[in-house]
Amino acid sequence: MRNYVAVVFNDTSKAYEGLHTLWQLDDDAEVTVHGTAVVHRDALGNFQVDTKETHPALATGVGVGVGALLGLLAGPAGAAVGAAGGAAIGAATGGMVGATADLARADTRDQAAGETGFVLGVGQSAVVADVSEDWTSPIDTRMGNLGGTVYRRAKSDMEDDVWFDDYYIPDSYLYPYEYIPSGYSL
């Protein structure tokens, strides 16, 4: 089954351990990973996507795309606020972006939490992934062992959302391999 997954961790180093573990599960053929990204929410509530992009406009584009994906992952509440909010935030703050900043709003957050439970809190980091998995237990077990909380939506459900919103699933911003910026180490 094709799913989008967000695994939320309380710190960045654990998120990168989670990223590495996810690709290890792929190496072991337990799941197939199509793409991943690591995102953070800082103390001010800003979202940042770890990307190779150095140009502010392109980095913003990546942030808006991954942010919109997180919005879809949060369910119809997140999808409804989608790219428009992310574009505004991205344009205002360069690389510090994220459509799901809207999920910081109490009404949207409560609705999203009711639908999928997925919310990225202040100071937390998350691994976002596009995966094919026959069983959910490999990811749930390994990420649980690392202290991560797994949120999952079927691709088909997200496609239903974007069908009604006339939007596409922006998964092309995910890296199709394990990308760890030079500033981080496992």
């Binding site: 197939t32 199509h34 026959d134 199709p176």
Partner: protein, 130 residues
């Protein structure tokens, strides 16, 4: 698992790794912006061509579930090669447009190959006695 299956697995895994490397190299070139040299771009075009040829040549040996995905990957790899070639002949804004298109097609090719891997794994898993 017999020898044929092992070869098929190695082949598809090799193609997947090659498309991932190609995407990594192009995204590095994009990040360098004006710093990517003509030699860098020529090497990327050659790499895209090589991966496309390998992938095309292996389609017939693949699991049925994986063939369509791999054929789609070849289309994207050929487009990647074309766009990298265009970037070699252009400058400034046109270069950025071409290299971004190359990156998008490289990403799409990696995605299609990983979908081929997933399809094959799922088909094999379904056949394996529990």
């Amino acid at each position: 698992m017999g020898k044929m299956d092992t070869n098929v697995k190695e082949s598809l895994d090799h193609i997947r790794a090659a498309t991932q490397e190609l995407h990594g190299a192009i995204s590095d070139a994009v990040a360098k912006r004006g710093g990517a040299t003509k030699a860098d771009l020529e090497a990327l075009a050659q790499k895209a061509k090589g991966v496309a040829e390998t992938a095309k040549g292996s389609i017939s040996t693949q699991h049925d579930a994986a063939k369509k995905h791999l054929a789609d990957a070849v289309t994207h790899l050929e487009a990647t090669q074309k766009h990298v070639g265009e970037s070699l002949k252009s400058s400034a804004q046109a270069f950025q447009t071409s290299i971004q298109k190359a990156l998008a097609d490289a990403r799409a090719s990696a995605q299609k190959v990983s979908e081929a891997v997933a399809a094959k794994r799922s088909a094999i898993s379904a056949k394996t006695p529990k």
